[in-house]
Symmetry: C2
Subunit: 194 residues, 2 copies
């Protein structure tokens, strides 16, 4: 049965340890030993399971992106109107699971390193393209064509900017508040097409 049981457990543990350790120390300076210590393992284990530090970072980002994707799809499933679906994308971005100090830290590190690592850049593009596609689809029925792209771009930049600022914040984040504000901002922009 559980042929890969321990392997799966270690992957999970080490990725979680990476998130915590990167949040504490920064992607640039965190060492394998620190990440390993965070998981109660040794640096050699990480190489055994992931092959290298770079691959561990990539696996960690892949995990975060997949969580974001799932959060979006979950909410999409129950949304009925285009407006509901637009809000679903927004809510997913600021969901309780994702919008935490730890994860915001990682995202910044991810953004900062994407231009210098092919694999991260690829992940970044895929992720952004997905959000863009969802926004485009929903805005089609909500705003007139001449404003649509400007507005979509503005919304996406706004959301990225919120994450950026959140990463600078050392007190606990408030996802519910972030969702509320983001919804307000989105409605403000949409409504101005009277």
């Amino acid at each position: 049965m559980g042929r890969t049981r321990i392997r799966d457990i270690r992957h999970e543990e080490l990725i979680n340890a990476t998130i915590t350790a990167v949040h504490k120390r920064g992607y640039a300076v965190v060492t394998m030993a620190e990440i390993a210590a965070e998981a109660g393992a040794s640096a050699a284990s990480i190489n055994y399971y992931f092959g290298s530090k770079e691959k561990l970072m990539e696996a960690t980002m892949r995990r975060l992106l997949s969580q974001l994707k799932n959060a979006m799809l979950e909410r999409y499933a129950t949304a009925k109107t285009p407006h509901d679906r637009l809000m679903a994308v927004i809510d997913a971005n600021f969901s309780d699971r994702l919008f935490t100090n730890e994860q915001c830290s990682i995202w910044i590190q991810f953004w900062a390193n994407a231009p210098y690592a092919e694999s991260l850049q690829r992940l970044h593009r895929i992720n952004r393209a997905r959000v863009t596609a969802h926004f485009r689809a929903e805005l089609r029925t909500l705003v007139p064509e001449e404003r649509r792209e400007t507005l979509r771009e503005a919304l996406q930049c706004y959301m990225d900017g919120v994450w950026l600022e959140a990463a600078q914040c050392d007190t606990p984040l408030n996802p519910a508040q972030a969702r509320k504000e983001a919804r307000e901002v989105a409605d403000l922009m949409i409504q101005s097409q009277d």
Copy 2:
């Protein structure tokens, strides 16, 4: 007379080299030797003039922040109405001098590292507080109180997000286009207070 002539020249050269080198290689991995080579100098020179790698980075950020401040003040001087002044802040952020691939790269690196370096964090807070203050002052007469802070926060996050996205872009940026879009976004948000 020019007692500090060479010193000033080297400071300028090395800060410019830092901007270029960090853009090319990333803050995390760029070495003193690479920065020095970019300026046609040696790594020892950098330590002679700046004391350490960290202090060089700090000096570089200080330079960029001061350029942003000056760009804002310049435009503020000729702006007459609150609306003009709001646009002055926006235009400064996306001015031809500042909104370049190289500088966007550095800003991301700066944001990513601010949480882990006291000195960078300080600079970041001062800068953000300045933009916040300007926006608050101008929005006071432009939007009703209940929407004001939400809107200000949204505008600031939007601008940060634009920089973030620009840093991922490997084709030359278009500052004029960015100014136009940012103005549109700002007007869209302001006008929605009918």
